[in-house]
Symmetry: C2
Subunit: 232 residues, 2 copies
C-alpha cells in the first residue's frame, strides 16, 4: 500500500514525470479516466470501489491533504500519464502557446465534441497534467489524442500529409462563413500574443470570424469552438 | 481626495451597492470603461492620466492594498455601477443561474461581437461587478445592455414583444444547423444543473448543437458562442 506522502508527491511536476502518473479529483474525472483505460488506482473513503482497479481507503483528512480543491471530493484517481507523438487523423487543432488552462481544457472538450482527431500543443503551452486544464476539459482530455510538439515540426508533418494549415486571426484572409473544410489543421493563438510570426509564415492561409466592429476579439476557446463546429 | 480606505471598501458588495461604484484594474478595462462613459475616477502611480476624469495619484503600495490581483497593475478605475431594467432589441441572451464568472464574462464578450442587444441574468447569476466576470468580458460588459431580472418576468416581457424564447439543450428539439433566426431569445443554463424546469415549461422551443456521441456536452460559453455566431 502506497503512503499518503507518495500521493502528495504526485501533485508535483518532478514526480509526475518520474512516475508517469498524476492525480485527478472527483467522481466524473475518475469515471472518464476509467472509460479511457488510464485509471490505475482509486483513492476513496469507503469500500465501494466500482472500478476493477486497486483501491486505497483513506480518511477525508488524508484526501484533504492530497486535494488541490477547496471542496474536497470523497474519491480521487491515480491516472497514467499518456502523451502521444503521433499526429493522426485529418482534423487537427494546434494551440500556439495557449497558457490559460481553462481555455485549453475547454478547447479539448470542443475538439472531442466536433470530431477532431488530434490536438497539438506547442511546447510552451500548459502541461497535460495541469489540474485546472483537466477539470475544464471535463475529462475529455483522457479520450483525445494530444501531442506536445515543437510547432515547426508539427506543421511540417501535417503539410507532408497533404493537410492545409490555417491560423485563426481577426484579420484573417478567408471568412469562416465561406469555408467548408473536411480536412484541416487550425492554429489558435494565445489571447495576449496571438499567433507567433513563425506559424504565420509557414501556414497555408488564415481564417477570420466576422464580428461587430465595437468588439476587439473573441475568447480563444469560443473562436476554436465556432471553427470546429463549422468544419465538423 | 478620497482615502485608501474608501477604495478598499469599494471591493465589498455592501459598499458597491451603497455607493453605486466599483473598482476595475488595468489599462484595458479602464480604457473600455472610459469609452463606455462609466469611468468616474482614475487611480494611478503617476500624473499621466490621459482621461478627462479626476485622478488620484497613489503609491504602488497603496494600489496593492486595493488590488485583488497577484500582479498589481499601475492603473485602476472607479466605475459607475450601471444596471438596466429595459430588455431592448430583438436578439437576446438569457443566462439561467450561470454562476461561473469566467463563463458569464465570455458570453457577454461573444454577445457584443455577434450583435446581441440585451443579456438577461437571472437573479441568482453572478453579480454585475464581479471582478473575474468583468475581466473575462474584457470590458465588453461596459458596452452591453445587461438586465438582472426574475426570469419568469423576463420571458413574459420578451414573448409579449413577439420574440420567441428558445433554450439550448443537448437533447433540444430543433437542430441548430437548420435554424436561421434573426430575432431570438436564447436561454443558456448552468453547467451543473442545465435549464430550470420553469424556463423549459414557458419556452417556445429548444435548440441542440449536434455533437459526437463520445462527448457529453459543450462548455456553456462555447454553446452560447456557436448559437450567437449562427444567428448573428
Amino acid at each position: 500500500m502506497r503512503s499518503i506522502k507518495y500521493y502528495k508527491k504526485l501533485r508535483e511536476k518532478k514526480y509526475i514525470l518520474e512516475e508517469g502518473k498524476y492525480i485527478v479529483e472527483g467522481e466524473h474525472l475518475v469515471e472518464e479516466a476509467y472509460k479511457a483505460g488510464v485509471l490505475e488506482e482509486v483513492l476513496c473513503t469507503d469500500e465501494n470501489n466500482i472500478y476493477d482497479v486497486p483501491s486505497n481507503i483513506l480518511s477525508m483528512q488524508d484526501l484533504k491533504s492530497i486535494s488541490l480543491l477547496k471542496s474536497v471530493p470523497d474519491i480521487m484517481g491515480v491516472v497514467r500519464y499518456k502523451d502521444s507523438n503521433n499526429i493522426c487523423g485529418k482534423r487537427i487543432v494546434i494551440l500556439d502557446n495557449v497558457q490559460d488552462p481553462g481555455n485549453v481544457g475547454t478547447i479539448v472538450r470542443s475538439a472531442l465534441a466536433f470530431n477532431v482527431d488530434t490536438v497539438v500543443l506547442s511546447e510552451d503551452s500548459v502541461s497535460l497534467y495541469n489540474d485546472k486544464m483537466i477539470r475544464a476539459s471535463e475529462g475529455t482530455i483522457f479520450h483525445m489524442n494530444v501531442v506536445r510538439m515543437n510547432l515547426s515540426e508539427a506543421v511540417k508533418l501535417i503539410q507532408e500529409k497533404g493537410i492545409k494549415v490555417y491560423y485563426a486571426d481577426m484579420d484573417g484572409n478567408l471568412i469562416l462563413d465561406e469555408c467548408d473544410f473536411k480536412e484541416y489543421a487550425i492554429v489558435l493563438g494565445s489571447e495576449g500574443q496571438g499567433i507567433s510570426d513563425y506559424v504565420k509564415s509557414v501556414s497555408d492561409d488564415s481564417i477570420s470570424i466576422p464580428i461587430s466592429s465595437n468588439c476587439e476579439s473573441l475568447n480563444v476557446s469560443v473562436t476554436g469552438g465556432i471553427i470546429m463546429y463549422k468544419f465538423r
